[in-house]
Amino acid sequence: MNQRLKAQQLLVISLLAGMLLIYPVLSIVNTPRLVGGIPALYAYVFCVWVVLIALTAWLMERYYRKASGNENE
């Protein structure tokens, strides 16, 4: 896969997750309610976090299988 494209994809993942984890989005779930027995905010932050890791892993591992040569940009 194109290295430049991949760098951009990673950057987007990071920025998107960043936006989801700060004000104002965070204020939506900023309530003492429990979701499935867990505080909503806590559950939300961990969910975004898991998705962030999963996306990164998926992207990197897919790349790893596809190409293993050219590592320069």
């Binding site: 991949k6 760098a7 990673l10 950057l11 993942i13 990071s14 997750a17 960043g18 984890l21 700060i22 004000y23 965070l26 204020s27 900023n30 309530t31 003492p32 429990l34 499935g36 027995g37 867990i38 505080p39 909503a40 905010l41 806590y42 932050v45 961990f46 976090w49 898991v50 962030l52 890791i53 990164t56 892993a57 990197m60 790349y63 790893y64 590592e71 320069n72 940009e73």
Partner: protein, 926 residues
């Protein structure tokens, strides 16, 4: 709990660390490295989770709820971007042999020592309290474990009876042992990395065990804890982000922790200790995963602790430990203690090693090389100065941290000191990030930005927290400096925010970035700065050339450069380094050793930079070479010119593709012609040279014979004999030149006919039989069955075989010569091998020996020699047969030449099979 057990466990664990480090280091040298994989790399990154995390997170969660998570969200968000930013930094550091964050800044901004010194000082200022924090965590966990009722436990009393003091000494011993073994700071500390990765595992397992116990042992799972907590208003408040902590603080903390990769310890494990860039691709998701997992149970433990202990005065920072103790789980408590001890010691070990490198290369070395007196004083023992300054700074840093812990640390909570340290290193961010993405970023900008950022950091963070702890008069924060309200450290210029951190972050970054950008945009750069900027920003383009990037053009002599290297690297390492340089630059370098090649000078500078830092290396190299201005600019100009040329070219091509193609063809043809012409010139020149040499001997000896009638008979005989030999040498040379010319010009037509390989071989062997007998060489001919007849030019192929055989005779072992001639068949391809047991052909010479007039190094030293054309002719002949000829050898293990004449089907090139004893091989494939 019995304090003897706890103390024994602490020192036992320390001993285990030594064992792990030792084992890793031993394995690292045997190529079955334990640390050369992405998993260990990710674990070593997790040194990020210090004791602050381990104990402090729970404390933080009890006071401010979600706040503690921000510190992990930051790096987790940053992790995908590591692949862009960190990979670039790693590449730069490998190419430029940079060993620390201070060296990085110094090298990027014109190899100037001032930025490096600044970064060093600030790192020390930031790190000592942070280290003290870890010692505090160890001390208070010891205290919690050994406390009986209200009786105080092992909390520090008199210094010599303080367990923490001895543990500090133990750690000092560890870092000296595994941190300063080698002089070159660029060399990785595999032992240390192994130990740290091991510690990351231990702390993860221990924390998960504690969290699991609290969540499922004491309570009934997550739901139970949270629903119980929801019924306590004081705890329910913690479910949400609230003022005074607030979103501003949350965002600021995320930002600060995202920059934490610039912490000296993170830089050390992430960049300096990185063994392979590829490890990043797994680490960028493994590292956030680690952070996530270790944080899963923080909130449950915090709420659980609060629910269990209620209002009793148990410090929330110790809940992880106190809960198992409270429920009588002593073994679990010991495991948890070990985990916390791991977190603290891991951080201490890496930080101290990183700081000592920074101090010795960016503080001590610039002093030594800049002061003429110090330089003279230590001239014979730079290596000693380096190692000792490194060791001394390790001990000093650890003792300072211990003193700080004893004197000051009790006034601060775990969390605040950590964030203050983060805010300090965040000040390097503009200079570092600007440095790798923005070529205009200048030294003055970096210096001004960092300095301003630090002044503000000191004023708005350190002063208020010191005042808050009662170490400074509170008047200062309440009324402002000189009683000026707009200078109040917590509300600078009247900016009121909810907390110190966002306030300090905003102002420090505002001034830092503005000054950095402002000075860079409105000021200039020196040539060296511009060159370094080019290399840093475009590292992926330049580093393709590997070590070859020329960063300067100095005139220096080999002996000077060599002795400089020996001073810092020692004789052995210098020899290895030079050898590897010549190996990588084989074809060009061999001849120009006398005056050091510009590439070599630049390579030497980089080697030195790995030992003493970029700025000092620059000074040392400049002291032995005459710099002719900085030439990187030229390199850059050439590069830019060629880029412009390519653009122009593209346009032209668009305008008239046809014309362009024609021009291109003409150009190519012209180029080819000129190249051929130059080659011919060079060839003629070499031939003349080769002929002049024997003529010189002949003339000299003839003149001697003529002018000295009184020579003895033996002398006369000797001279005459030599004259005849030299004449023969000349004749041979001329014949071969003519031969080669005939083959190369294509005038020679092969006269092929099919014939049996065994006959061919025995004919060739018969021709040299006499010589073999004279030299008492054992000859073995092995012809494998089933070899087909092949079409070849009999006379020419015999010529090739005889040439290979006479080389084998010439170079096989003098006393116990052994030559093997072998024919094997792989499908359609026939391979002939001539192997000897001589000293072999060095790997870098195995292709060169087929060049015209090339003579292997060894051969040049031991006359008599051939014309230097035999193998070139053989190669030409084999090529005319459509085959391939090559050499294989392990030096000092004999040489083997092999050979593949073939049938009339097309032949695939393939590696020759292992020959008897795996010796030297020169192969021909037709």
């Amino acid at each position: 709990m019995n304090s003897g057990v706890v103390i024994g466990l602490s020192f036992g664990y320390l001993a285990l660390l030594f064992a792990v480090a030792y084992l890793t280091e031993r394995r690292a040298r045997t190529a079955r490295s334990l640390v050369n994989n992405p998993y260990v790399y990710a674990l070593s990154l997790s040194v990020y989770c210090s004791a602050w995390t381990y104990y402090g997170s729970v404390g933080g969660a009890v006071t401010n709820g979600m706040e503690y998570l921000a510190v992990y969200i930051g790096p987790a968000l940053m992790a995908p971007v590591f692949w862009i930013v960190l990979r670039k930094i790693i590449r730069i550091c490998k190419v430029q042999r940079i060993t620390s964050i201070a060296d990085f800044v110094s090298s990027r901004y014109g190899k100037s020592s001032l930025p490096g010194v600044m970064v060093t000082v600030f790192c020390l200022l930031e790190a000592v309290p942070y280290l003290a924090l870890q010692l505090k965590a160890i001390a208070s966990s010891l205290d919690t474990l050994t406390r009986v009722g209200s009786e105080p436990g092992l909390y520090p009393g008199f210094i010599l009876r303080d367990t923490t003091f001895y543990l500090t000494l133990g750690l000092a011993f560890f870092v000296i042992l595994f941190g300063t073994r080698r002089v070159e700071a660029t060399e990785q500390h595999e032992g240390m990395v192994g130990a740290v990765a091991f510690e990351s595992l231990v702390k993860l397992v221990a924390f998960l065990a504690a969290g699991g116990f609290v969540t499922y042992g004491i309570f009934n799972g997550f739901g139970d804890i949270f629903s119980q907590a929801a019924r306590v208003p004081r705890l329910e408040q913690l479910f949400v982000v609230r003022e005074p902590f607030g979103f501003a603080n949350w965002t600021a903390t995320i930002f600060l922790s995202a920059m934490a990769v610039l912490l000296p310890r993170q830089f050390q494990v992430a960049v300096v200790e990185n063994l392979n860039e590829k490890h990043l691709s797994k680490a960028i998701w493994l590292f956030p995963l680690y952070l996530l997992v270790i944080n899963l149970f923080v909130l449950p433990v915090a709420f659980g602790g609060k629910l269990v202990f209620g209002t009793s005065p148990v410090d929330a920072d110790t809940y992880v430990l106190a809960l198992p103790m409270h429920f009588g789980q002593h073994l679990l408590a010991l495991l948890v203690y070990t985990g916390g001890f791991s977190a603290a010691t891991g951080m201490i070990i890496v930080t101290v090693i990183a700081l000592s490198t920074i101090t010795s290369t960016n503080l001590v070395m610039p002093l030594v090389v800049k002061s003429a007196w110090l330089k003279r004083r230590f001239a014979d023992n730079f290596v000693g100065v380096l190692i000792y300054s490194c060791r001394v700074s390790m001990v000093v840093i650890l003792l300072l941290a211990y003193a700080y812990f004893r004197g000051v640390a009790r006034h601060y909570s775990l969390l605040s000191t950590g964030l203050v340290a983060f805010a300090a290193v965040a000040q390097f961010a503009p200079a570092v990030l600007g440095g790798i993405f923005w070529k205009r970023g200048s030294r003055n900008g970096a210096v001004a930005g960092i300095l301003a950022g630090f002044v503000i950091w000191l004023y708005t963070l350190v002063i208020p927290s010191a005042a808050g702890a009662g170490l400074l008069p509170a008047r200062l924060t309440e009324e402002g400096l000189f009683g000026l309200p707009w200078l109040r450290p917590v509300a600078l210029f009247g900016l009121e925010t909810s907390d110190y951190i966002p306030h300090a972050l905003f102002w420090s970054m505002f001034f830092n970035v503005s000054l950095y950008v402002g000075f860079s945009l409105f000021g200039g750069q020196s040539n060296l700065e511009r060159g370094q900027a080019e290399i840093f920003v475009d590292v992926f383009r330049y580093s393709k050339a590997g070590e070859n990037t020329i960063t300067g053009r100095g005139t220096a002599y080999m002996p000077d450069i060599r002795s400089l290297l020996v001073q810092f690297l020692g004789e052995k390492r210098t020899a290895q380094a030079l050898q590897s340089f010549y190996l990588n630059n084989a074809s060009v370098e061999v001849r120009t050793q006398g005056r050091a090649d510009a590439r070599l000078v630049s390579y030497a500078e980089k080697l030195l930079a790995g030992v003493i830092g970029a700025a000092s290396a620059r000074i040392m190299v400049a002291s032995v070479s005459k710099e002719e201005e900085i030439r990187i600019e030229e390199v850059v100009d050439i590069l830019k010119e060629s880029q412009q040329w390519i653009r122009l070219n593209k346009e032209m091509r668009r305008k008239s593709a046809e014309l362009q193609r024609a021009t291109g063809e003409l150009q190519r043809a012209n180029h080819k012609l000129r190249e051929a012409d130059a080659q011919k010139d060079e060839f003629l020149y070499t031939v003349t040279h080769e002929i002049r040499t024997p003529i010189t001997s002949i003339r000299a000896m003839s003149e001697i014979l003529y002018d000295n009638p009184g020579l003895s008979e033996t002398e006369r005989q000797h001279f005459l004999d030599t004259i005849i030999k030299e004449t023969e040498r000349m004749t041979r040379l001329i014949t071969q030149v003519l031969d080669l010319e005939k083959y190369e010009s294509g005038r020679y037509q092969l006269k092929t006919r099919r014939q049996a390989v065994d006959l061919l071989l025995s004919e060739a062997v018969a021709a040299v039989k006499q010589l073999i007998k004279e030299r008492n060489i054992a000859l073995e001919v092995r012809i494998f069955p089933g070899i087909p007849e092949i079409a070849l030019d009999h006379d020419r192929m015999i010529q090739v075989l005889i040439n290979l055989l006479s080389n084998a005779i010439k170079f096989c072992d003098a006393a116990n010569g052994h030559i093997t001639v072998q024919a094997v068949c792989h499908g359609e391809v026939v391979q002939l091998t001539v192997a000897d047991n001589g000293m072999g052909i060095a790997a870098e010479e195995q292709t060169l020996i087929f060049d015209k007039f090339y003579q292997a190094q060894q051969q040049r030293r031991d006359k008599p020699l051939g014309s230097g054309l035999g193998l070139a002719i053989s190669k030409k002949i084999v090529q005319m047969h459509g085959g391939n000829i090559w050499a294989e050898s392990a030096p000092n293990q004999g040489g083997q030449f092999s050979h593949y004449p073939a049938g009339n089907t097309p032949f695939a090139e393939r590696g020759p099979p292992n020959s008897p004893g795996g010796r030297n091989l020169l192969s021909v494939e037709t």
